[in-house]
Amino acid sequence: MNAPVVTPWWGEFEIPIDATGVWRLGPLCFQVRNEGREWLLSHRVEGEPVDSGVSVTIPSDAPLAGETRRYCFSAEPQRLRLTPRLADRPVISRPHTELFVPAGEQVQLFVGTPVWLAASVGAPSRELLELPVNRPSDTWFGPTTREGGLSYAATTRAVSDPKRIVFSPFRAVTPVLVRNRASRVLAIERLNIPVVYLSLFLGEGDTLWTEAVTFERSEGQEEDAVLRIESGPPQEAGEGPRLSEPRQSSERNLVFHAFNALFG
């Protein structure tokens, strides 16, 4: 694996009273102003979606701009905590190049999905808001426009060699093992990554990882597969701490609508 170069933007921060902290995370400008028992949080999109820079400035003179929310407390919160979190809907990843898994074969892919920012204050921690660092496009995933679910769309290199993973402070990597036990080749044009069932881990070099998942497609299944979620961080990530819990609990061996869902 390449030595990652990822600047972490998450953690605990102290913002002095009457001071503002500014986080520029790719295209997102996130500001927090401490006014004692009132905290103001604002955010706006300033840059292009491809921006990947991270800068944290505390204190900053920049005035608050964009959508602003005001939070009131009975006692002055001391510290701000920013936590990365996975998306709040499944992410439909489209490999840059359609890939094919022949019958009886399996392939290990590494797929990136966008992360969210969650802001909380005080002890015990109280969450104030969460928002996407780089809001992905909505998309529909299902066999027809009547059946299916609302998801997010993302593109991915879907590399099979972990040395070729390009890490980003705003994307989490999911190792996906695809097993095709059917007798026909499996064409993967889109892959449904069930991030709502996954945790977020901190890997070596401050990289972001989720549990490894396995999609096993059997005979007779066209677009469905049995989903298995491994426990703990994947071996490629090392033994880092868990940063956030799954949003939903999943069943063991869940039959999942995993592939394609092309529209007629």
Binding site: I92, S137, D138, T139, W140, F141, T145, R146, A153
Partner: protein, 256 residues
């Protein structure tokens, strides 16, 4: 009528007076007992219904004491029933239509439906009619019989909806470039669903320009917001790209 003994007259009078008092007492007690469970209008109907039922019985008994033949009354009641039957045809039709609507479930309470030119949120599906609230906050009552016979469009049955945009561009424009610009606008807007893909249709050659339909999909709740935002973004993108949206053109040829 033969002259009646005084006793019969007195009994008849007692029946009428006693029946009136009992009817008043019973109807008032019923209403008091059920006040918390019934609306004001239902209480009034209950009071009147119970009063006239009991008082009516007392009147019939008094008429028997006075020597009247009840068969005539029954005959009159029969004729009245037939007349009521004819008069309530529409209500019966609405009632039966309501049962079919409930069974078929083309919509449920909370859905937004369009019937003819009326669009609104379904407030209730009742025995004889369906009540809607229009978006300008008006109350509309539609008889069930009308609904069974009409085309109903349920705007909220499915989770995603297509926004159809009618766009005209000048004849001089490169259609492939127009398509690229429109596709880029759709890709940049996060509310515009990536799948199903936006649809580009060359509708035809209009009077003053080329007519295009550009259809994009949105989550149902974002329909209006996407429709407003994307049209603004298309206009801005056309201005940046120098693509002309034509005004109506007329070529005037002078005679002579």
């Amino acid at each position: 009528m033969e002259s009646l003994p005084v006793a019969n007259l007195l009994r008849a009078a007692a029946l009428v007076i006693g029946g009136w008092i009992i009817a008043r007492l019973v109807s008032a007690s019923l209403v008091r007992a059920l006040r918390r469970r019934t609306a004001a209008q239902s209480s009034m109907l209950l009071r009147r219904g119970s009063f006239w039922l009991i008082f009516g019985l007392a009147l019939v008994m008094a008429l028997r004491e006075l020597g009247f033949d009840l068969g005539v009354l029954l005959g009159a009641a029969g004729i009245l029933t037939v007349a009521l039957g004819f008069a309530s045809q529409t209500s019966a039709s609405n009632l039966i239509s309501g049962l079919f609507l409930i069974g078929e479930r083309p919509f449920v309470v909370g859905d937004v439906i369009r019937v003819g030119t009326t669009t609104g949120e379904v407030l209730s599906i009742d025995l004889l009619s369906v009540k809607l609230r229009t978006f300008d906050n008006l109350f509309v009552r539609i008889p069930n019989e009308t609904l069974i016979k009409s085309e109903i469009t349920n705007l909220t049955r499915f989770p995603i909806r297509r926004v159809d945009l009618q766009i005209g561009v000048a004849y001089k424009e490169d259609i492939d470039r127009v398509r690229e610009v429109l596709t880029a606008v759709a890709e940049r807007n996060p509310l515009c669903l990536t799948e199903p893909k936006p649809l580009f249709i060359f509708l035809g050659f209009g009077e003053s320009g080329i007519n295009i339909q550009f259809s994009v999909w949105a989550e149902r709740d974002n329909f209006l917001e996407l429709k407003n935002r994307i049209q603004t973004e298309i206009k801005q993108a056309f201005e940046r790209a120098g693509i002309e949206i034509p005004y109506p053109h007329r070529v005037v040829v002078s005679a002579g």
